[in-house]
């Protein structure tokens, strides 16, 4: 495993080059810069009790969460990291490939500073089952757990995973408050279609449970309901037509059984929501320097503000490092053309093919960096208050503790020195 780094040229020479040359092209005007996000300060602050990593899929949320948790633990905090869907080898190296829904100590952490790290992988179905069992009598719980609608709801309802991640967070937090097991909880969020699903899930679940249709289904079980009258007739016959009669019966049984635990659910959802709004919570929005990921990040930042949730900042993963020399893409490509002319003119050259290849690579690198810088600048221009940490792309996936340690160091590294 190796971390991308472009070896800087000798410090003396490169800085003299900067002075001698003028920037050309898009980099000439330095775009709006976001304030730097100091993650070491965040995780070492005893006032930080919960860190929630969110963002769209494929941006490195899980790795970010695990790396921060590990760094905090090695700095002396008692940490638990709750992950959703880690890469297999990363899960193995953390000792959490078993889905038993309980935090397990991670072996191989440096505990010299007095900290510790537990990790767990969320099993949304068992979490849901636990909630049902805690809310209903044993017989009722069994009836619910066996209903096909419950089985489907608990394993595939859009939002269940998000909701259960929050539920588990609430459980661990309550437990930690009692026995002091942890002083920092780091949460990874599910790879949602949209990052917003995470915040919408509790509302969706409880509005579903509160919905008119549910009331309607409950009505016959609760006695005559005249108000429904015609409407209900049309609906049941329509549903029977489409789904078949058995489905409707199963559904009614499920809703009737579930009715008693609704209240408990809503209350818990409300508690978790308040916990997320608390001062000790810090949201980290994770993104990649791509248009879609940053757009999602922007939505999320705005939504957190609307919901009065505390945002710590933005982590931009997978960024390409800015080339350390001032040679624009256009200059590099022009040089390849001149080199070609010189070569065909018979000039004695060292390795023109290699030099051209290197120049083209450089041009490619510069263009990518310029695009990414531009995208980040647009984000910063519309969200100037959001502190940002930029993490260079790794050349391989992280699948061991050393890898996580390195990511932790990159996440908390001071910002690259500005060039002017």
């Amino acid at each position: 495993m190796s971390v991308s780094s472009t070896t800087p040229a000798g410090p003396g020479s490169s800085s003299s080059m900067r002075r001698a040359r003028h920037r050309v092209g898009a980099l000439a005007t330095e775009p709006v810069a976001a304030p730097h996000l100091d993650l070491d300060a965040l995780i070492s602050d005893p006032g930080t009790g919960i860190v929630v990593c969110c963002g769209s899929g494929g941006v490195g949320k899980t790795t970010t969460a695990a790396a921060l948790a590990m760094r905090a633990a090695e700095q002396g905090r008692k940490v638990v990291v709750l992950t959703i869907d880690p890469a297999r080898r990363l899960a193995q190296s953390m000792g959490i490939e078993e889905l038993d829904n309980t935090p397990r100590p991670v072996v191989g952490i440096d505990t010299a500073a007095g900290g510790r790290l537990d990790a767990m992988m969320l099993d949304m179905k068992s979490t849901f089952d636990e909630v049902v069992e805690s809310q209903a009598s044993p017989e009722k719980a069994r009836a619910i757990l066996e209903n096909p609608f419950y089985i489907a709801l608990s394993s595939s309802f859009a939002g269940t995973q998000e909701y259960m991640a929050m539920e588990k967070l609430g459980q661990i937090h309550r437990q930690a408050a009692v026995d002091g097991t942890y002083d920092l909880i780091v949460v990874d969020t599910p790879p949602s279609r949209s990052a917003l699903d995470f915040l919408d899930a509790p509302e969706r679940l409880s509005s579903f449970l509160d919905g008119r249709f549910i009331k309607l289904l409950l009505a016959p079980a609760k006695g005559p309901a005249k108000i429904m009258g015609m409407g209900f007739g049309i609906i049941t016959s329509a549903l029977t037509k489409v789904l078949g009669a058995q489905v409707l019966t199963d559904l009614q049984t499920f809703v009737a059984a579930f009715d008693t635990v609704f209240g408990g659910f809503r209350q818990r959802a409300q508690q978790t929501y308040s916990l997320l709004q608390a001062e000790q919570t810090a949201f980290l929005v994770v993104a990649a320097p791509e248009r879609d990921a940053l757009r999602e990040a922007a939505y999320f930042v705005e939504r957190l503000a609307d919901d009065r949730m505390p945002l710590a900042g933005l982590v931009v993963n997978r960024a390409h490092p800015r080339p350390d020399v001032d040679l624009s893409a256009e200059e590099a490509l022009a040089a390849t053309r001149r080199l070609e002319r010189e070569e065909s003119a018979g000039r004695d050259l060292y390795d023109p093919e290699l030099t051209r290849g290197l120049l083209r690579l450089h041009a490619d690198q510069v263009r990518i960096t310029e695009r990414e810088t531009g995208l980040r600048a647009r984000f910063a221009a519309t969200h100037p208050e959001v502190a940002t940490a930029v993490v260079p792309a790794l050349s391989t996936d992280v699948h061991d503790l050393d890898g996580l340690r390195r990511v932790g160091a990159l996440l908390t590294a001071p910002p690259a020195p500005r060039e002017d």
């Binding site: 000798g10 899929g57 919905g211 329509a238 549903l239 078949g244 390795d351 290849g357 690579l361 699948h399």
Partner: protein
């Protein structure tokens, strides 16, 4: 690009009517679906590009207004290149059209009720009582059946309804790899809930198309460990459920600016920075000799970094080759993907015989 014929005699999937494109988040699945639709249109086909995840990604990529639940014309394929025979036998220069459809489960359900059960009024009543929302969010599997059902309806030959357009191909920008088998395996998904009844019958009809050779499920991946592993898992899952595995599109590959010898040389540190600096001087790169020496060092370090990543890509590429399915490669475009970039990617897919 790598060793691919520049003008494949016949596309690999000419008999396929429904192209399902899946991939792990961040691999560019939507981009590839759009490029594939354009590539198919460039062979003279009329293509419908569908999205089902409510993101309006198609509208953004093609730079058009957000799409309604209605088929809209969004682009023309590139006319077949002058002087080369078209693979499909379409008249030279005749490009097909790409239409797009944004499918949401709520509209699909109302559409479905109206189409199959003539439930116009009752359908609206259902909406008023929140049944539509209920059915599309909770009733498990129903959501997927509705989404895939609409795609099925668009893809089947002899579709009914006023002004129903016939498409030569339908491209579905599908849910990510982790969910694709469940998404397409609609009849099993419903089995626990609806053992009989019209929805079940409908799901079974759909499965017949999905399991046939008129369907191909393509995977998009990048040459990194996790997406490649997920692709392997996805292919295995599909095969287990007898769903047809299509090709693998390896997206965002690094440029081949250095050949194998140069890569080895750069990695071994065999190239002299002073030699490169001299070449830079010959190429008219201005500055002092010192600056050029520093630049040469920097370029070599970029080269080493590139070589290292190329080697890692090659290791993943070898794994992809073991899947034993046709593979295609799309380069990473340094400027990002805009509409022009989509056409560029479509041309790559055509050259490699995917369309």
């Amino acid at each position: 690009m790598r060793d691919v014929p520049t003008d494949a005699p016949a596309p690999d999937w000419s008999r396929v009517q429904l192209h399902v494109v899946t991939g792990k988040g961040g691999t560019g699945k939507s981009t590839v679906a759009a490029a594939l639709a354009l590539a198919l249109a460039s062979t003279g086909k009329n293509v419908l590009l569908c999205e089902v995840e409510g993101r309006q990604g198609i509208a953004r990529m093609f730079d058009v207004d957000p799409l309604p639940y209605e088929e809209r014309q969004i682009a023309k394929g590139l006319p077949a290149g002058a002087g080369t025979p078209t693979a499909s036998g379409a008249p030279r220069g005749a490009a097909g059209t790409v239409y797009a459809l944004h499918i949401d489960a709520e509209s699909a359900l109302l559409d479905y009720l109206a189409m199959y059960y003539r439930l116009g009024r009752a359908g609206r009543a259902l909406d008023r009582f929140g049944v539509i929302e209920f059915a599309t969010t909770i009733a498990p599997g129903v959501r997927d059946v509705l989404l895939t059902g609409k795609v099925f309806e668009a893809a089947k030959p002899g579709r009914r309804g006023k002004g129903a357009r016939q498409y030569d191909a339908v491209v579905l920008d599908a849910p990510p790899t982790g969910r694709i088998t469940q998404f397409l395996n609609v009849s099993d998904e419903l089995a626990g809930l609806a053992k009989v009844g019209p929805v079940k019958a409908q799901a079974d009809t759909m499965m017949t198309l999905f399991r046939s050779e008129r369907t191909a499920v393509h995977f998009v991946t990048v040459l990194e460990e996790m997406p490649v592993q997920e692709t392997a898992d996805g292919i295995a899952d599909l095969r287990r459920t007898q769903l047809p595995v299509g090709g693998v599109v390896v997206n965002l590959t690094r440029p081949d600016e250095l050949d194998g010898d140069d890569l080895a040389e750069v990695t071994a540190g065999a190239s002299e920075a002073s030699g490169i600096a001299a070449d830079l001087a010959a190429a008219g790169v201005d500055g002092t000799e010192e600056e050029r020496a520093a630049l040469a060092e920097h370029l070599l370090s970029e080269g080493r970094d590139h070589a290292e990543r190329k080697a890692l890509e090659d290791a993943q590429r070898r794994l992809v080759a073991q899947y034993d399915v046709p593979t295609y490669e799309l380069p990473r475009l340094a400027g990002g993907v805009d509409l022009g970039g989509l056409y560029e990617l479509a041309a790559h897919l055509r050259r490699q015989g995917m369309a």
